[in-house]
Symmetry: D3
Subunit: 280 residues, 6 copies
């Protein structure tokens, strides 16, 4: 199966049945991202989304120092943040920027749109894009050495690939979101845990990855119809009224409840054995 995936800037392995492990692999530059990387990331999650062999995914960063230090600022100053040499017209520059930002956002949103649950294990520097990227995932774990920051205001800009749109809906503490986003200050693992940005803190990076893998393995052991429906319905409900959430759930489950997974799961429950589910 792994043969189908040949990313250049990420390692991809399959440590457990139905579980993929995506590792950001540019450790010498603190896993900082440049354009080719986020495009590849988008492609990768689009592919994982419909791969029948995959039921859950974890993301981590290679090397000891950083999950990712965020945007590779040097590359960006020659790209996204460069003055647009094609034109001096601010309106035309704006058009080019809109296309670039929109394309960048789509790559990160691929994690949220991925039909399977995604668990992120962070460590070390987890700055800027680290927050955007992990906010698009479902569950966040980290090592106790993790140093987070919504770093963008420090380089003169408002974060624009997801943090400002998703973070207020992930942690229920709007004052804290304002605090960290308006100051770009560092915060640690304990603070991230307290406000609910991460769900668990581990002693080391290795343990965080192991913990994420265990969680992903547990999710992968359940009915994929049930798990993937649950991810979708939670994301939909986040953005709609309770009534629209209930109605969409009804329509969704009018097909999903016809699955044989229900019988498999019920039977396995009675027989106290691990169910198996048809591939999806």
């Amino acid at each position: 199966m792994a043969a189908n995936y040949t990313p250049k800037y990420f390692n991809i392995t399959f440590p457990q049945e139905h579980v993929a492990h995506v590792e950001i692999n540019r450790p010498n530059q603190l896993n900082a991202f440049f354009e080719a990387m986020w495009i590849e990331l988008g492609h990768l999650f689009n592919q994982l989304s419909t791969d029948p062999a995959v039921r859950s995914i974890i993301i981590s960063g290679a090397g000891e120092k950083a999950f990712t230090a965020g945007l590779d600022v040097k590359a960006a100053s020659q790209g996204l943040l460069a003055s647009d040499s094609k034109t001096t017209d601010p309106a035309r520059k704006a058009v080019h920027l809109r296309r670039e930002i929109g394309g960048f956002q789509d790559c990160i949103t691929a994690i949220e749109k991925c039909e399977k649950p995604v668990v992120v294990a962070m460590h070390g520097f987890s700055l800027g894009l680290a927050i955007d990227l992990s906010s698009a995932a479902d569950v966040r774990y980290c090592a106790k050495d993790t140093r987070f920051a919504v770093k963008e205001v420090d380089i003169g800009l408002a974060a624009d690939v997801g943090t400002l749109s998703r973070l207020p809906k992930i942690v229920g503490n709007f004052g804290w979101v304002k605090d960290v986003a308006l100051t770009a200050r560092l915060f640690g693992a304990e603070e991230a845990l307290r406000v609910g940005f991460v769900s668990r803190v581990f002693e080391t990076k290795e343990e965080a990855v192991k913990g994420a893998l265990e969680l992903a393995t547990l999710m992968a052991s359940k009915s994929p119809i049930a798990v993937q429906g649950t991810k979708e319905l939670l994301n939909w409900s986040r953005d709609h009224t309770v009534q629209d959430g209930l109605r969409y759930t009804t329509i969704w489950n009018s097909a999903a409840l016809q699955t044989s997974d229900v019988q498999s799961a019920l039977l396995s429950g009675i027989q106290k054995r691990k169910p198996t589910f048809e591939k999806l």
Copy 2:
């Protein structure tokens, strides 16, 4: 007054002036729900909603073992989860499922639509439907022995009578919601308190019910115009922009502020005595 209520699967009592106590009463089956029960529950809350003698409501479960173990899976496999014998056409099955799920949702939503505040006191097993039901209430208390789970993925389905639509708007920790909903794992009273799913944890079931009753009694002692308006405006605001919330509040209060309760409340405040309010 109690004469008007003759539920079959619930006990209803009036332990304090203006306070109703609804008890799920199927303790031998861990208060598990089958269709006739949720239909009765819906009717009961529709009736309580406009009963002038009632200003707040508490819900608890009979017996020592469970608030409710959720759906009666055995009954459901012959009902909601049964293969639809009337047709083999998946689209027609979907129509029947839509109607059944929609009807079921309406019964649970009756708690949310009930004009009076509803406080739930949980204990023991509080699985699946327990989360859907209590998420439709206003405040949740529990005993320290409570064992919660968003259990649905374990029977092959995505929760569809409210948990996935309401839980993300009740607790401000989307990662935790994803975690418990995608794994179906058990969680205890302390965890529920920490993430804000319950507001208080008590030593025993009896104390939890007593605590809920005290809270409900306090709410029932306030102006019913003010209290019922507050419940409605908070629920509306949850589902709308701040601006739409403010506007709706303006329209609502343009009638509500004309109440004599304001004078009664102000006067009682000055005279340091308990106000009484015209029935509603």
Copy 3:
């Protein structure tokens, strides 16, 4: 600069470069608000919003006893809560109430619409309107002696100048919001911190104000393009879907990213010195 501001019910000072300090100044009446005060407050924040010399703002209350005890109930019973002597027609009274409530809301909303971040430092009695007002700000700090209450139901009405619309989107604990709003009970600094209503608790009022000033000073030291964009994008995202948030961010940043602040910030980062930004 201060010459332009001559409020009657507030003190305004500029304790740090680019930082304004607004102090509610009616300490003899526990800083309770009457109509002329909230109108002045609205004007003040509209003016601060576009003042190029101001990049962040703190609000506190004069005197030792209260940030504000809320609405001056005595004044209100002759104004907003007075029976409307112009007419006995409930529909016409409703029209007058709509206009008054709407006008009142606009004054408080001026804090939210103010383009610069606003940090509130509370102490002592912080009742009713204190919650409405501080909920419209970005970050809330308090002294440990602060006594909060969503006091409105105690005077027979549902809070209508912002608390019920904003509080559920500030703290991610809807059960707690229901609890305090439906009972009007007092809660203290520690509880406010635990649920995320305030971000930090200080030993004394003076320290809280000092803390707020430090935070505001830090925000004022960053690129105003980045900071003001971040405030706006977070507030927009709170009220829209993630997708609408991302799109709005794209459009916003298509102009904002053309700022020279990005180069200034990047260069200062490399040169390890404090950047300066053109006034805005």
Copy 4:
């Protein structure tokens, strides 16, 4: 089948296979509505909605003079519009009015929520409630003698059971809607046709009813899975963004496309014969 329906204020017949005809039957009072009538109407359409023998419905009014003259004002002045004798408190009156208006709206909305298409054939006086009621249906036909009016402002109130919410989404001429709703002026069949409120005008009431029946019969001859899905998807799309409409359509059709009706319809098309579809 007709045996199941025993309405008191309506006639119900089944003039064609799968087509029900509901006739408002109070011709001596110009088919004016009082409370028991709209409650019965609501029940009737809820029942028709899930009756497998029914695939489309027409509504008309008995007698020569009126489809319906609207609210029976005399009955209403003792009911909905009566001064509320139970209380003098405007806020409590408002609660009672809210419940009554809400209940009334639900009865009319039952036509919109009915899963099958509803065609209305109007004639003669079609005032006030006639507009509310027919706006909740799918297609409107009328005789050339029809006299329409959004009559409510003439009795001192804003229309509140659907006209003001639905009419602007039915006819794409907001100025015309404002004109007729703000003046209560009469308008005739030709004007109704020109602005798109009705789809066809017939010489006589009998022809209008016949035309409606032919349209309903045509709709009833198509796949009920396709027809009922189309009604629902159009109503959903009216109230949502194009993107939410597309997504909801995807989820809906993921079950609906599995129907054997597709094969039946395709085969009938090839064989040039009338398809038959399993009952729904």
Copy 5:
């Protein structure tokens, strides 16, 4: 009464009881607008909105040649469209432009927010801002010589004070809106009538103004509670789902139905005489 109004760029008269006539008064420049004019227009409609002597309003343009030729382009090139001399930073220019456009929009939106119905009578050149302005009104009439254009693309910009947001919701012909907005082509009275942009076409300007006055007089003769409620409920419904429209209507009418206007209107109907209503 007229004494209270002293506009500089508009004439204001009261040709009928409860009816105000606002005339754009810069005929020598084809009634073209510059900044001071739209600010005055906003103030004027805010004042009219709560003037108890006014129940409906008409707007027309002085002189024979134009209702308004739109933006005074010469003035604009030194103002709104001038290059911003205060800064060369495109992001800072964007901030200034945002404030200016937003302020301009608020002035036009004052017509829509005005609680009383507004009828516009157009003639001659009615370009650019003429469309923005009249789209914010309730009903549009015109003389047959009127020449309309959504003129903005011809001066290199997308219309930004209302046309693009309101026109698609006024006329139900999105292709036509795209056509005229993307080409800036002229269109005449007959075309405007056909697509529903205007409701009636008159031979001359004088007749158009007379027709508008008759319509406004009719509206002013009805219960102001009913009329103003109807305007508000239609505008709210345009922007919300049918369900949110129905709910808002319920809340609104729970106060409005308590008016004595209902009894006055009913009684007048029975007695066949013109009702009078308490001032509002």
Copy 6:
């Protein structure tokens, strides 16, 4: 330039400066679509969207008989509408259908998302997908021989690639939309013109294409900043409240108004010559 485009199922030419002509090219099968065609269509419009040489686009169909007869039903019965051989589980089939429908929708939505205006010229059979496709465009023209139908219910399904979501927002006659969508009946050019589905009817296909080309040429002669902004702002406004539309417009124009196109356009206006605009 044409060298960059090598579509297989479409012809692409550039009949005027800045204008592209896309012709559906499968005349022997009435231009019926199969999967490879809509995928290519999506790619084509994504490419045109950012091609600086293109400022407007027209679409027509090759051959005399049809713009397009819609879905190639034969191909579809082996593809989208085929029973899913990979699984018998209805829930898994639903997942596969969701992915296929979603992918199909994206291809059609590419026309709407294309930054440049798109004009469609239809003739002959214009069934099913013809309506979906043309509804995603900006302006629709047709020859008088055109035969339209929302054909989907005739093959047992609800239209799912755009018609049901877009048509109610294009034509302001919801009853007509219901009529044609629930009956699948044919309608002609005159009816399409009357309800506003098409903007103009021509004698022949050739004239329709010529008319479309003239319109597109006119649009291409205007400032591309203004034209593309206008398309985007109209589409955004269709799906949002007026207030959100106004706000988005403000943000958009805060960059767009900085264009030198404004000066070019103003100057050309004064000098009575055709402006030229920098490429975009």
